[in-house]
Symmetry: C2
DNA sequence: TTTTGAAACTAACAAGTGTTAGTTATCTTG
DNA sequence: CAAGATAACTAACACTTGTTAGTTTCAAAA
């Protein structure tokens, strides 16, 4: 596995790792280059700026989240099942891209305009897809009557704990994490 | 409100605001100073380094979270109530220190040693206080049998969404946020 | 074998970094 | 009012930042 990586791929992977570990602003081009094994100016043969590199990481992830959601959401009818299946899809994307996801969630604030604006729009759209399921589920009495914005925020935050969970843990599988979290959110902690 | 602020207080407040908005690493001492209305070197009359400033923000918040937890936890016997009351306490601290809390959650990674080590220890202790309630509640059958680490992570993440919630929202009160989130976590979304 | 294009290199720039030294102004206290 | 402390100031240092210019290396195409 991980054979025949091009330099560009290596740059991207290394950037994801470093940006997650230490934050976009704290990682310099020289440090990134050193980790890749080249000189800093050589990075510009592959990406035209530091911002361009962040842009690619963030927008690639956005695309993956959208694709996974859209593929998952059509498979179920009941809203409880719909929610569970998109939660699983979301977690699936995170687990398959642990470092890039973290950058996506935490470092996008460093995007420059106009990328920043475009990105915010995408994030909002994605959030609305979740809220839509919740709102419709509430209308159909599949869900309790609650503030859907609050719920959506709580869900996102809980999902985004997946990274820490997956990294720090006693061999939880992606399936187990997805099941436990969606169970918690749907049924609650109370016995 | 906010009368007779000393320069040191103003520096701290401004730092909290800027560190939250743009990240610790992205905020320079000159920018901070400008916002305060003094020159950069004058900052060093109040804090001996940039790290020292971050240290004070983070450790002050840690202390507040501990104090609120300890005060809350003794007031209840049943573990469901215990959990609810510490959740409320935690959210209370966030709401009373919106910007500083965000720094506490997101920027502590930039602390230098030995502060970084001490801080990590504190965070872990705090997490364990929550997990302790969950574990004991599971033993007493107040809670379902679930992975307490996963649950603790999910709870923390959900709680830490409070900032975005409080800021972006349709006039939710602290009481409402605390109630809705603890209801969600205890009883779940399912009707 | 020569040509070409990609991707590496070195050197350097202008701007910005946290911070120190030394000095002056301002406020508090005796 | 004089003395001392506090907190502001200007100037500067050593280093790092993202990035560009110009050059060389090297493998594939002609």
């Amino acid at each position: 596995m991980a054979v025949a990586q091009t330099t560009k791929e290596k740059v991207k992977k290394t950037a994801q790792k470093l940006f997650r570990e230490r934050g976009y602003a704290a990682v310099g081009m020289r440090e990134l280059a050193k980790e890749v094994g080249i000189q800093a100016p050589s990075l510009y043969n592959h990406y035209k700026s530091k911002d361009d590199l962040l842009r690619e990481i963030c927008f690639d992830m956005a695309q993956q989240f959208f694709a996974a959601f859209d593929k998952a959401v059509v498979t179920e009818e009941k809203f409880q099942r719909k929610l569970k299946v998109v939660i699983k899809a979301h977690i699936g994307v995170i687990v398959s891209n642990l470092e890039a996801s973290e950058v996506f969630f935490n470092e996008w604030v460093f995007l420059e305009q106009p990328n920043l604006g475009k990105f915010k729009k995408l994030r909002f759209e994605y959030e609305m897809k979740f809220r839509d399921i919740i709102d419709k589920g509430i209308k159909k009495d599949d869900f309790k009557k609650m503030n859907s914005k609050l719920i959506a925020f709580a869900i996102f935050s809980a999902l985004n704990a997946t990274y820490d969970l997956y990294n720090s843990n006693e061999n939880l599988t992606q399936e187990e994490i997805a099941n436990d979290i969606s169970d918690l959110l749907l049924k609650g902690l109370k016995s």
